[in-house]
């Protein structure tokens, strides 16, 4: 089952993708196109939401907690 899911994901990714050479990545390199455009803002927003809502976590492992109320 895992192999099938992996194959489907790989096909889904590669089917609609064109190869983008490093010198064609000027737009992708812009600050606004980064996954985290501002890491400090993202870090603080995560802390606020994680301490005020029941959910936490995402694309990185959880860090240390706090006694935030």
């Amino acid at each position: 089952m895992k192999k099938i899911i992996l194959m489907v994901l790989t096909l889904a990714f590669t089917a609609g993708c064109e190869t983008v050479k490093p010198w064609e990545r000027d737009i992708l390199a812009q600050p606004g196109m980064q996954i985290e455009a501002d890491p400090l803002d993202a870090q603080l927003a995560s802390q606020v939401y994680d301490s005020k809502e029941a959910s936490s976590g995402g694309n990185s492992p959880a860090g240390g907690g706090c006694g935030c109320n």
Binding site: P22, D41, V48, S55, S56, G64, G65, C66, G67
Partner: protein, 380 residues
């Protein structure tokens, strides 16, 4: 020497194999100051205690620098100064059945300092990192370690990132003897994450990720009058992030989604949208909107019941109730050669009927807050 925007973009692009962590090409120092203010609760919803809530001043410092040809160092320091009141519990109103709040006095004050350092090593098509962090406040101490690895594939069109962390937290509530609270408890968290980032074309990319976090130890809130939670919690998330550049308006769209579930019975959906509008080389304006909805925990009670023995799971914490929330934000960024200035504002509102799963009774402590941040960065 001043670099032209084209030279900066070209060098950044060439240094960017995909979206893996690449060695920073220059040193940067960032400082931010934020003010977070929760709105007071309506006096009619408070039976005892203060109706004021938290005010928090946050100061952040970050240093990122390359070390030699293949290493980098990242140091973060966060300092928070907080004061206000927080909910201790709820009592059911005799007439309406609706919960009313028992709050602490407005005299709670605390300070938190968190320091973390990350060392990264870069290879031809991969990188590895180790992070150590320590967080300390009057009643809580957390020590954590995290490791991460990233690999590029498919002519650097894709990046696989894997991370793992362990945190050991020590909980020592204030005024424990006076209020019969626990005096010294521990909590441990183990977390694992994986993400796959893929460049779709010259103007778009996507990241898919999943994480699993296992917590054990004292997971209750020691300040609540009646709060007993399981001593194990398994959390899972699935998330997707999409970035798309539109050449016409000269803007980048960010669209993020996260699904969360845990064995407390909580399910949530988070949807985040931001529009990074560029004006010339120097200015960027970023309006954003975030929607959040969660279902209540299996053991959540709208009002505390003194008939339920304390060894049975129970909590009237508003954070475990069913509700939804909207956040609206606006941010301005100015780039002045080696300097970057930014100013942002966010307004957060939450209510029972904003959620996908509307509760019978809305919790009176649901939050509304304002959040302002001023930041400056220098690269050299």
């Amino acid at each position: 020497m001043k670099k032209s925007p084209l030279a900066v973009l070209t060098s950044a692009a060439l240094a960017l194999p995909a979206f893996a962590a690449t060695q920073p090409s220059e040193t940067s120092i960032s400082v931010k100051a934020s003010h977070y203010k929760e709105e007071d609760i309506a006096a009619s919803d408070v039976l005892l205690g203060s109706n004021e809530r938290y005010d928090i001043d946050v100061y952040q410092f970050q240093l990122t620098t390359p070390v030699g040809a293949d290493w980098s160092l990242d140091v973060n320091v966060n300092r928070e100064i907080m004061s206000g009141a927080s909910p201790w519990g709820t009592i059911s109103d005799f007439a309406t059945g609706e919960p009313t709040l028992i709050m602490s006095g407005a005299t709670i004050s605390d300070q938190r300092t968190e320091v973390s350092a990350t060392v990264s090593r870069y290879f031809t098509d991969s990188s590895a990192s180790v992070t150590l962090s320590h967080s300390d406040e009057d009643d809580y101490e957390a020590k954590a370690i995290a490791i991460g690895g990233e690999w590029n594939f498919m002519d650097d069109m894709a990046t696989l990132a894997v991370g793992a962390s362990y945190s050991s937290d020590d909980i020592t509530p204030t005024d424990a003897l006076m209020f019969g609270r626990v005096t010294d408890e521990e909590k441990r968290s183990r977390s694992f994450s994986v993400s796959w980032t893929h460049i779709l074309d010259r103007t778009s990319l996507v990241q898919l990720g999943a994480s699993i976090t296992d917590r054990d130890g004292y997971l209750s809130d020691p300040y609540k009058i009646r709060d007993t939670r399981p001593d194990n919690r398994l959390e899972k998330t699935f998330s997707a992030k999409y970035r798309k550049y539109f050449g016409g308006p000269g803007a980048a769209m960010h669209l993020d989604y996260r699904y969360f579930r845990d064995d407390f019975g909580i399910r949530s959906h988070t949807l985040d949208f931001a529009w990074h509008q560029q004006f010339g080389d120097r200015f960027r304006v970023i309006p954003g909107i975030r929607y959040y909805s969660q279902e209540e925990a299996d053991f959540y009670l709208p009002a505390d019941s003194f008939l339920i023995p304390l060894d049975q799971y129970q909590s009237s914490d508003f954070r475990l109730s069913s509700y939804g929330a909207w956040a609206f934000s606006i941010k301005g960024v100015v780039n002045l050669d080696d300097w970057t200035l930014d100013l942002s504002y966010e307004r957060y509102i939450s209510a029972g009927d904003y959620g996908l799963d509307e509760p019978e009774f809305e919790h009176p402590a649901l939050l509304e807050f304002d959040f302002v941040t001023l930041g400056v960065s220098y690269r050299f």
